[in-house]
Amino acid sequence: MEPHDSRDLDGAIDDVARAMTTSVLARDLRPAIAARVAARRRSWPIGWRVATMGAAMAAVAVAVAVVSRPGFEPQAAPPGAEARGVPPVVAGAPPPSTVTPRTARPDRVARQTIDRAAAAAEVVAIRPVAIVPLADDGAGLEEMEPTRVVEIAPIDVEPVRISELGELVE
């Protein structure tokens, strides 16, 4: 093993790196690419057919599910019903107070019940509340009891001499 100059090594490194990536493409890639492109093209119409059929089947399934849903009934509004603000009434429909089908949405049931009840309820007149203003004549202030003055006697504090405490103080 013989040490080499750093610049020689640069050239050697470049040569080895080139040799590591120098490789002749053994075959023409065009036939393989053409085959892959052709295979991809053949798969397209099948893919479109499958996708179209799938979409159609999904649409039919959704339609069947909607129609066969429990409680589903096509509603026909009587002429002019919406204009009067009255909800459409279906012949044979249960009154608002009856229990709605279990499959119906709770919010829809509540809204229908309230609407029908509101339509049937009478209008209740509410009288306006009269507010009487308070008179400020000062009578209340005079009737208040005068404040009592409490006198506190001063506390006499006798001085304590340390000698009188005896042994308690060291």
Partner: protein, 207 residues
């Protein structure tokens, strides 16, 4: 949107004889975008070797590199309508090839087993030319190849692509999606690390 020739037959029946020797890549691309599959054929002929070597630099295995090159060319054909000419067709194609090769490298679980670094190093030592012939040291070439294999992927990719002799720094930068200056720095750093390893083995003259 797929190019017009996407719905045409590929490869097409030979059209009127046309010499493409003097036709530029840009003209071939325009023809291919207009539906001339023969023009795309010509582009494949021109660039398939460069695409293959870029993939080989990333994958280090011939079979994988060929697969990646095919992937890249098919993808380029599919996306040719989206090529607007911001870069040269070759740079655009090489970037696609590098992306395909890197994604393949990431997904290949057996990649580490396939590359067989020591066998490659022996092969490199045998086929290396230039100063190595003058020095006549197969062992040095083997050590250099081993040191290159041990570099981080970023440094190794930059070194192998830049020193392959097939690509300019701007093309390497487009492939690696980094600035040209970063490519040069990586190449320099890769050389420095290889020399460090060789120095530790006593190959570098410290005088």
């Amino acid at each position: 949107m797929a190019p017009a020739f996407f719905f045409s037959r590929y490869p097409t029946v030979d059209g009127p004889a046309r010499s493409t020797r003097c036709v530029t890549d840009d003209e071939l691309v325009r023809l291919a975008q207009a539906g001339d599959a023969g023009a795309f054929d010509q582009l494949v002929v021109r660039h398939q070797a460069a695409v293959f070597r870029a993939a080989l630099a990333a994958l280090r295995a011939r079979e994988d590199a060929e697969e990646a090159a095919q992937d890249a060319l098919v993808r380029a054909w599919k996306n040719l309508a989206g090529f607007r000419g911001q870069s040269s067709f070759r740079t655009w194609l090489l970037a696609i090839a590098w992306n395909r090769a890197i994604s393949r490298r990431r997904s290949l679980a057996a990649w580490f087993a396939r590359r067989a670094p020591l066998a490659d190093a022996d092969g490199v030592a045998g086929c290396a030319a230039g100063p190595l012939d003058a020095l006549g040291e197969r062992e040095l070439a083997r050590q250099i190849a081993a040191a290159i294999e041990q570099l981080s992927p970023k440094l190794r990719d930059a070194l192998l692509l830049a020193q392959s002799g097939d690509y300019g720094y701007d093309e390497v930068a487009a492939m690696l999606k980094v600035p040209v200056g970063t490519v040069k720095w990586r190449v320099s750093d890769a050389r420095r690390r290889v020399k460090q390893r060789l120095s530790a083995l006593g190959y570098v003259n410290r005088d």
